[in-house]
Amino acid sequence: MSVAEETAELGNPGLAGNEQFDTLIYGSPPLAYPAALSQYVIYNTPDPAYVTGRINVSAFANLGSATPWPFTNTNVPLNGHVSIPRGRGPFPLAVFAHGNHSPFENSTPGYLYLCQLLASHGIIAATIDVNFLNGFNFGENAGRAIVHLEHLKQFRTWNNTAAHPLHGKVDLNRILIVGHSRGGEAVGHASFFNRLAAIGPVVLDGSAGLGPYRFGLTAAAAIAPTDRQFTPATGPTVVPDSYYIIHGSQDADVFTFEGYHTYERAHAVDLTNPTVSDGKFKAMLWVHKANHNQFNSIWASESAPGAAMPRPSQEQIARVHLGALAQVVLLDRREYFAVLRDHAVATAWDPVGTEIVSQYQNPERIFVQHNQEGLAAPVVSLPVQGSVAVDGLVAVRQLTALVGGAATTTITLRLAWNATGTRLLLLVDPATLPAERYKVMALRVGQSNEATNTANRDQDFTLEVSSGSRTSAFPASSLHRLLFPDPPPFGPAKIVMQTLRLPVARLVECRVDPSDLRSIALVFDRRQTGVIYIGDLQFTN
């Protein structure tokens, strides 16, 4: 099915649905907020049925003492706004958390525009108050994760309380957690903590107030997240649930695309069991001209005038793509996977002219070349047998941080050419590559801003796939644009690879037999020169 056909069959997930809903405040009164924190007084008058308790996060975080909070870290409130569809339910649950910002401005309502969208589609959607961890602090993101999980616990309590308006209305097996900025890092930790019985000395069985959790998280979504500001004792957090990330090229706060590292660690290939998958997907959306703050409707833009897209456009993109994610993971509308697999499906719904790079990794896959074996010359990855031939180009595996910032743990293959007709050829033993079991041949490719790539011009090459004596060629540009990197507000440009997906059905149409694949070649015949980074050549679904 073509992209146009797929789009025609789907409704725009960024538009309001038909469900009626109510938006109300929940909170932990009474709290004597001083005048400087007057924006939080709204939480002193929650809906009477939605009065919450306090929690002790002192094992994870202090409160910045420069802000006059009327509580300590041993009794922080569970405040939030929630949009609840009318009707009997049960409804899935989505909970948003903001990130770091001036604690004197309440960041919580900044995601109401998304909560209300989701509620109109039959999802209970909340946005939570974590402002008390905001300020010039560091290392508190475990605390943000605990607060997020404790809010989920509050919804579970209401769902299980016979007299409560939410009794039986929350589908606890369909929960999406979404975080922005440091809150985006924290949803990764929350996904990890959700499965733990204890964190260090803190037992999560409820005996000391925190936990138990073990919620049915269907996905964790991070908007412009940080990474590794908190690191568990076991090492950097590897998100165990399905993971989604969205980040803007004009982000002048988290300007090194930190979440790329989180994305890379999640659901990575296990070299000892390369065909084994944990059954979870991950997807990435890199939005040219989006910035950091405009994903929160409260936060003032951090960009220089004209550098970023208008706020309504950025919010529209958030609605469309997070809306599509919610359709998939909360409403079981699997047809919206099309948007996650290929952002072009959403082109008609995104602001006109928006340039986006996306990646998608399906849990069902067999890698032909993932490059994670080491920095030696490129090989065909086990269990597929084969060899690699490099003809006229320089092919070097690199442990390069494509997106700047912290060191990466993911190896990519850098291909540089200075003449047309050069190629990277992978010869494979068809007996070891059951391509016919999969729907798509995929790889991810990104061009750098090095001098041999023409500025602001899409890069291109040809994919040649052969079985026996039959070879078919497909321009990469027929699968997707390979955008030139958007110049960032500062620092080096990010090289963000685009997932290219070539349907196996197209190979069959071209009489290439997927059960007898002999070779896959990247032929550089469409640009005289260039540098690209590639990875994760695979057959997948």
């Binding site: 910045g64 990130g99 440091r182 940080t226 988290v254 910032g405 507000p489």
Partner: protein
């Protein structure tokens, strides 16, 4: 736009204080047989606080990351539970980094704590943070 600049440190002060319940639990979790009667609050007074952002300036003492720090009126502070931290790092440079790769020396070093008062006379950490006494500057 310009890359964010690291915070500039005006002074560092190390003050002994009473451990909180959370501190005691963390110390016990480490299997320390004789828990110290005091913990130390390291107050890092800044010349100016950078704007609040999500990207963070991680603080290092020499090569060791300070895993958590918190804002107070004049800057940031962190709490040291293990007195060996000072044995190991006394006189070492405080440094900031945003990525763990590129470091910015502050020109300020960690001072050793003054001899602790008797445990019963130690201040609460919250009281330590309220004091607005300029700290010693050491190079």
């Amino acid at each position: 736009m310009q890359l964010p600049e690291p915070p500039k440190i005006a002074a560092v002060e190390v003050v002994a204080a009473q451990p909180t319940e959370t501190d005691r639990a963390a110390i016990a979790h480490r299997g320390v047989k004789e828990p110290p009667e005091a913990v130390h609050v390291v107050k890092v007074r800044l010349k100016a606080k950078p704007p609040v952002m999500s990207m963070a300036w991680a603080l290092y003492v020499d090569d060791e990351l300070v895993p958590q720090y918190w804002e107070y009126t004049d800057g940031i502070y962190f709490t040291v539970l293990d007195p060996q931290f000072f044995t190991k790092h006394k006189g070492k440079q405080l440094r900031f980094s945003q990525n763990g790769t590129d470091f910015f020396d502050t020109g300020v070093t960690l001072t050793a704590p003054a001899t602790s008062a008797a445990a019963a006379k130690l201040p609460l950490q919250s009281d330590v943070l309220k004091r607005r006494r300029p700290g010693r500057r050491t190079k």
